[in-house]
Each structure stands twice: as structure tokens, then as C-alpha cells.
Amino acid sequence: MNRSKIIEDVVASQVKPEGTMPQLKVGDTLDVHYKIIEGDKERVQIFQGVLIAQKGRGINKMITVRRIVANEGVERIFPLNSPRVEKVDVLRRAEVRRAKLYYLRDRQGKSRRLREDREGSKAKA
């Protein structure tokens, strides 16, 4: 058995099974429900923003979510398979033409918006 297969098997139980997470696409507006441990208490924080980059596969899958807080851009990178990521909701889909939306970092005001993908037509085609 080759090495990458062995590693996959080792962490297979940690990768969240298909179907528990929605199919994510760059440009989606997401609610990431993230568990936070404060002392001995645990609560869920919701981070809402635009998915601007996805990288990694299997257990290494990471998503970068960008939002604007008090006129300041904030980006968080979540390991999707972490048990701390409780749930991800897709609120809106957008029609985008890039795999990484880093150009949003330079945008201000209205030009920051993405065109909504109403039909999901691009996704199907």
C-alpha cells in the first residue's frame, strides 16, 4: 500500500463524512458555527462572511472566510474537519470567475459586492 493511502486511512475517521457539510463554492456567503472554549464553558460563535479561498483536501481542507467588521476587513481560516467547526450554512451563492477572490481585499464600498447566482446555472453548467 502506498504511503498517501496509509495516511488517508489513518485520518479517515476524522474527516467529516460526505453529506454532513454542504458543498461549498468560492463566492458563497457563509455562516460558520465555531465552538469557542472559554475556561470550562463552551459556546458557539457564528462567523458570517464570504468564502474567498479553499485549499487542501481530505483532512487538510481549509476555507478562508472574509467579512467586514467596523469597516475593517477580517479574514479567518477554518480547518473544515476540526470538531470545533460545528456547522456551516450557505446563505447566498455568487457568480464568480476566479478560484481565489483575493481581489476583494482591494475593493471598497459597492464594488465589494458579488453578483448573485440566482439560478445556480453556473454551478450546473
Binding site: 504511503r3 495516511i7 489513518v10 472554549i37 483532512i59 480547518p79
Partner: protein, 227 residues
Amino acid sequence: MPAIIGKKIGMTRYFTADGKNIPVTVIQAGPCVVTQVKTSETDGYAAVQLGFEELAARNSSMPVIGHDAKAGSDPLRVHREVRCASDDEAKGFELGQRIDASCLDGIKFVDVVGTSKGKGFTGTMVRWNFKGLCASHGTERKHRSPGSIGSHGTDRGHGAKIKKGKKMAGHLGDERVTVRCLDVVSIDADKNIILVKGAVPGASNGYLFIRASNRLYKRKARIQAGK
């Protein structure tokens, strides 16, 4: 004598139940075969020799084939010896006995011995962390040079030669390296896979020797004592 020979598979990440993300190295540990039992009567000391990874006889040599055949095994690629505290402990093992990853069960910290990646001929800045010479102030073509290596003529304990062990450019890496006290994250005795926290020496597919730590760092000794 919890020890085993293994092979580095590669690295990945491991999430604990509370969401901690641990970098782990995946090691194929065993199965090993006891290829020789040494006692003070026969060899002057007590030890057990383990062999790992069978290989085709045509890729082996006659001495190895004969040696491993005594243990009733195919020729093995790697052999390592583990010292035993007493003859009785060594006699507890018999030739041909299989040893798998479960021999590390219940062990929290291990030392991993491997062969580091060869870096070839390197300068003093890479090999010994020298700072090199000035970038400016009139330095010409000497920015990465080691500087003076001491006088040949002075008699400060070294006479008319450069001091022995003087740090100079040369071959780096491809040598035996031990990392001590790595946390054992999980042991899968069925598949002979163990996960240890952090990196181990050498490239993937390199051979490793894994043994229970007998000398712990202070913080880990406290964890061990508090269990």
C-alpha cells in the same frame, strides 16, 4: 524493553475531541522478528536483535539470509539491537518471535532514532549558524566566509595545526539523529501504525528505531508522574 523498528510514512494532522490540532508523523512500526537473543554467557551482555521488513533473497546477501534463517524468517532489510537489563529479560524472547506495535501500548513518550536528510557540502552559515562577514564596510567577495580559523603558529593548546574540531564547511546531514520524548498520539496494533506528535528525522520511507523514553524532559516527566 519496549522498542521496535519502523518506517516513516509521512506527516498529517490529528484533531483531538476538544478540537486541538496536533501535527503528527505516521510511522509503520513493525512487525519485527527477533533474529538473535544475546546473553552474558554467549555474548558478554544481554540484548535482543530485531529485524524489520522482509525482502527478496536475491536482494539480500548470504550472511544475512543465513542469519535470519536461524530465526525461521525470510531475510530482513534492517536489524537493530536492543539492550536488556538482565539475561532473564533477554531469555524471555525467543528466536523468530513476532513483535508488533502493541509492544508500545501504554507508553506516553518515545525516542525516535533516524537518519537525517543529507544536505551535501554546506558552508559554515548553514552548517554551524555562523553569521558570515559584513554586507558592506568594504567587504568584497567574502560575505559568507567563516572568517579567521585561528593561527597555525600559536601554541594555545593546539600547536602548529588548526585546532581539532574547528567548525568549518563540510558535509551536513545524513547522520544518525535522535529526537527525544515525542508524545505518542495513538497506537494501532492491528495495522502496526503509530502516530507521534511532531517531526522525526529523515525523509519519508526512512527507517526509524522507536523506543520508550527513559530520560524525559522535565515538563514531560511531570506529566508522566501525574498520570
